[in-house]
């Protein structure tokens, strides 16, 4: 099977600074990947490089065999990359519905379908983006990425700064998108416990390079790499209900 996403020796950064260096990464269709690491290790930069908003310093980025290394961010989005940024960055002066219809593209993820996944958004569809809570903004950011009908979904710390109830709601949605619907995804997360139950595989970044790569299950069963590189321990036996 050909790779959905293939990063070959990719280096990138901002200005003169190189933040990620010689990253090699492959993702199969339907596969999901957790990107773990401490603050400032290049997790967000990795996603920003995939969507094309960093300064490219070397290597190649291919999506479904198509070389996107030199492509503009809008071309990459149209090629099938959906991005949910850390800051959410929803369009404040547009209503919830306008945020979705402004970018919606044909495909299985329709506006009605994302409303079904996030009923709160349907309730608030006439509210402006700046009238939403942080959790609702995050739901909208995910919904907006889904209605683009991407081949690959990039989620940058989707649970950052949100309350536990909203986090559970978002994790349930992510499980549905990734595990039930088979959407390929790269999820950046500082808190390994939250994301390892959702993704198939995981990498750990340190100083802009991959220092560990393996399956999520192996990290749950043997959290030594997490302790070594993140200084945290993942739950050894996560609740089954939380995974499925």
């Amino acid at each position: 099977m050909s790779d959905l996403l293939n990063l070959h020796q990719v280096s990138a950064g901002y200005g003169d600074a190189i933040v990620i260096s010689k990253i090699d990464l492959c993702l199969q269709p339907g596969e999901s990947l957790a990107v773990l690491g401490r603050n400032g290790t290049g997790k967000t930069t990795l996603l920003n490089t995939i969507i094309g908003v960093t300064r490219h310093r070397g290597g190649r980025i291919l999506l479904a065999g198509r070389d996107l290394t030199a492509a503009r961010p809008d071309v990459r989005a149209l090629a099938g990359i959906g991005w949910v940024p850390q800051e959410r960055n929803i369009f404040r002066s547009l209503t919830v519905e306008e945020n979705l219809t402004a970018v919606a593209r044909p495909g299985p993820w329709t506006v009605e379908r994302v409303y079904e996944m996030f009923p709160r958004l349907k309730e608030r569809r006439a509210n402006m983006g700046n009238q939403l809570s942080g959790g609702e903004q995050q739901m909208l950011a995910i919904a907006r990425a889904l209605v683009l009908n991407p081949k690959l979904l990039l989620l940058d710390e989707p649970t950052e700064g949100l309350g536990p109830i909203i986090v559970e709601e978002l994790l349930a949605a992510m499980r549905r998108i990734i595990q039930n619907e088979g959407m390929s995804a790269v999820v950046v997360e500082q808190h390994a416990q939250k994301v390892l139950g959702v993704t198939d595989s995981a990498i750990i970044l340190d100083r802009g390079t991959i220092v560990h790569a393996g399956s999520s299950r192996s990290l749950i069963d043997d959290p030594a790499p997490l302790e070594q590189h993140l200084g945290v321990t993942a739950r050894k036996k996560p609740r089954q209900a939380a995974i499925h």
Partner: protein, 354 residues
Amino acid sequence: MPADPIAKTAVPPSTADFVRRSLVRKGRWGVAEIGFWAVAAATLFLLPERHLILNEIAIIGLFALSLDLILGYAGIVSLGHAAFFGFGAYMAGILAKHGFADPLLGLVVSALAAALLGFVTSFLVLRGTDLTKLMVTLGVALVLGEIANQASWVTGGADGLQGISMGPVLGLFEFDIFGTTAYAYSLTVTFLLFIVARRIVVSPFGLSLRSIRDNPLRARAVGIPVNRRLVAVYTLAAAYAGVAGALLAQTTQFVSLDVLAFHRSADIMLVLVIGGAGYLYGGLLGAIGFKVLQDILSAWTPQYWQFWIGLILVVLVLVGRERLTDKAKALRPRSRGRLAGQAKVLPTTTAGEV
């Protein structure tokens, strides 16, 4: 055949259907809008002695509408929008002077010429900060103004383009000295172009412009071709401004360097500040406010009316028009639900709810 076949099926609507329905909902005219245009049409019969100033208002309203398309919707600031207005005016005037006196032909040619100018210069405003854009747009208008001044063999230079004689509108309605035909003509053109603009701003294209204004980087990352959209709306707005200029040239049958002057660009910015940007009616209401204020103040104090206009501008900016209009809105029931379809606007969620 059912009016809406999708409603008859159990299949969830596709994205295209959803967007189409959303467009239809947003495209509906409200009572206030219909009232506004009905009053505008009624002035044709009720205020016959004011047709000359009403004609000016309709033209300024269209000009401000064109600035609103780029400033209010796409976030492109401009201090040189008169470049397109003046270019359109000269095109219409020169055409008429050389025997092509049909007003509609003049409008079309002026629109195309201004659009071409807008397209070419749009690439200058794609990059840089707001200050850069202000300077670039101002510079383009100054350059055009000087070209018009130097090319007196075609523009009439400082003396202006004289000897313009317009044919009747649609071959039927001659321009009269009371400005009745002129006002009916300008109002009709403004109304038709308003309908087009209204359709555009509620379309996905219009939404994408507002997305770009809110956050260009994010807009790019969700697949919106930012530069192409900005070029498109800048070109469109230039065409609108060109038509406004052509209307002025045709209805006054005179074009001078004044149409390219800096104060035209500044005035139109002022009009938009008075009326408010980003909802199309701001330009029209601002034009009414500006001309009425100008009329009243210049009659009251012919020497110092600009002082009072300036003072009102300062007050508007400092106090904030939104603060004034928000208080007015608070006095009447909210209509946002209708504007956004059937959905009800819920109160803002507080942080404590999450």
